[in-house]
Symmetry: C2
Subunit: 410 residues, 2 copies
Amino acid sequence: HLDTARLLEQLRQLGAVGQDAVGGGRTRIALTDADKAGRDLLVAWMREAGLSVRIDRIGNILGILPGAATASGQGGLMIGSHIDTVRHAGALDGCYGVLAGLAVARAFRDAGVVPTRALVVAAFTNEEGARHQPDMMGSLVYAGGLSLQTALDAVGTDGSRLGDELARIGYAGKLAPGALVPADYLELHIEQGPVLEAEGLRIGVVESLQGISWQRITITGTANHAGTTPTRLRHDAGYAAAAVVAFLREQVVAAAPASTLATTGSLRFEPDVINVIPRKAVFTVDLRDPDEPRLRAAEARLQAFLAELAEREGVVIETERLARFEPVRFDGALVGEIEASAQRLGLSHLRMTSGAGHDAQMIARIAPAAMIFVPSRDGISHNPREHTDDDQLIEGARVLLDVVRRRLGG
Amino acid sequence: HLDTARLLEQLRQLGAVGQDAVGGGRTRIALTDADKAGRDLLVAWMREAGLSVRIDRIGNILGILPGAATASGQGGLMIGSHIDTVRHAGALDGCYGVLAGLAVARAFRDAGVVPTRALVVAAFTNEEGARHQPDMMGSLVYAGGLSLQTALDAVGTDGSRLGDELARIGYAGKLAPGALVPADYLELHIEQGPVLEAEGLRIGVVESLQGISWQRITITGTANHAGTTPTRLRHDAGYAAAAVVAFLREQVVAAAPASTLATTGSLRFEPDVINVIPRKAVFTVDLRDPDEPRLRAAEARLQAFLAELAEREGVVIETERLARFEPVRFDGALVGEIEASAQRLGLSHLRMTSGAGHDAQMIARIAPAAMIFVPSRDGISHNPREHTDDDQLIEGARVLLDVVRRRLGG
Ligand SMILES: NC(=O)NCCC(=O)O
Ligand SMILES: NC(=O)NCCC(=O)O
């Protein structure tokens, strides 16, 4: 039996941690004080549910319900996601998957059923990558795709070192990341996009995840007076940055509008004064495509445009890779089991691809993995208006529990 | 006799107030602590030179050398400029004109000559408009072009109220702005542009000043997930802002490249996170043209583009006027006298227009005014690399003294 009231109540409580003064959102960026408060709450809830809690050296939180065969969590079934957020976030992105995992563990405990293998509920560090890049960092380190040291040395947008922040909030654990290798991995998440709602369907059976390419671009020109500098003598870092953002939308995305996505979410000028031509512009480029060759082509077109622009405007352009993940195809057997569960529970469903990156994408490197989606109202996420109806949240958790039961008994 | 060594020494000393930790510049934004430190130094130097110092209610500093006919400064000859700076500024913009005015007053004192009318050395508040708009604020209030109350109520880019900052640094004086009406006004300034250097000339005889249009534009879209939101469903405030900046350069400026200038010096995104489509973009537009109808046409094209863009992208666009000054033609007689002085001193010269806004532009509303320029190396200003050779600085001050002598005796 799934205690759905408790699940919804915990979602509400965790969603209240780090609430913004205005706008109804919350900001629980990884390894800030608000993230620590959220972690403390989660750890308390895990203990209360009888899980043994272990923290690894990148701060991933593992709550372990021992299995008949595997007490340690080695070779267990892992249900994971994250509890960090972007700035001014909704309440569901990440938390839903972690707390549903906890609800599944509670269901086993409450029923007095010992799973055949251990059940591990994981909350991975810094999935969002809002301050320290790359995103999906905790699960990437867990899967061996990034060295612990490189991750700890990551410098954030505020100049902070990730390892220092992790130690500061008291979540630099002892366990080696990846020490417990799961035999299978499931992640339940809100879709964060418009597809399920548009199709009027209840469950997304996620069989793949698109590729993600993140860069930070720094353009250096010459600060000069806005009133006295003839246009032909300008080296305007601000205009050059704007030209890149416009190029991405009007040329790169326009060439494959149903496939390639481009976003500049962060952009800063220096000195950022009304009558001074910007000396410097620093901005991010987020490129995505489910098709790897097409993602490569978008990156190449951007690169060529930057070279041309540097020449034309007399500016220096540097690019720094912040994250690069190829598209991932999830485990066919698990995907099939999710589909069968939805079917069994009488929930309409659709095989689909994920637009967002998820920890499942990283863990798929070391274990068979798949994901379950529920609809997002108006397809909105990374926004305080992110919303999924309670009954839909419960349906997703029921599918998760059903799949787990088929694998672990109970 | 002009004490040129003292002038250069004072320029060096004032230029050291508010020095940046790196980059060799200084940041003395109006009504900050650094501005207060600069003001204190200037006031001490004025007193030391025997001037009586008066501060008006917008914080303009007036150093008065009484004349034979006019002891109070009423109907005097005013030499003015400013000592506030942009962020990471050079040492000369503004300070040169104020300190050269002080050097001229000292020359009268040292020679024991009482001018026929009072000589007033003015340092106007917030000429740069880097934090609180409009720019040329102190001289604009002085000339009656902006009410004292509106100026005091100006809210800065950091949310501060100008009047509070002014009181905080102790420069909210008692004198009504504009109480002392000058009979003539001169301003000596670095060119801040490339013309004199390119032509190999020593003195700019400034006969006009281009129009300036400043706006703040706020675009509000919808924050959403960078990976899950199809392009056709986006309301991307960041892309829309970039499209405006690109449009200004590629369409508006391109239509009259030798006349219209457009600059976006400041731009900020919200929430400014790599994988979040910006909900909001706030940026400035600085448009200039020596020709008023052409400046109006540029404003109109921008307005039309914004309307089109709002429709196309489904974003809300608000514009706020921060400053608007029509082109100004300086006093023909004064311009002629400057030209004659340069001629007499054997200095090559050119009648020219000013690209930058200056306090002279405001004071021209209440008194005959004109300006003298000296060359700027590489045409660079609003940059720590701003530079004019000492001998050129001295030549400019000599022309200023010569013009003043012709008007005030000595
Ligand atoms: N699920 C989610 O929002 N992940 C953040 C990483 C991304 O930008 O896709
Ligand atoms: N001289 C000067 O830099 N004035 C600042 C106002 C402007 O932007 O032109």
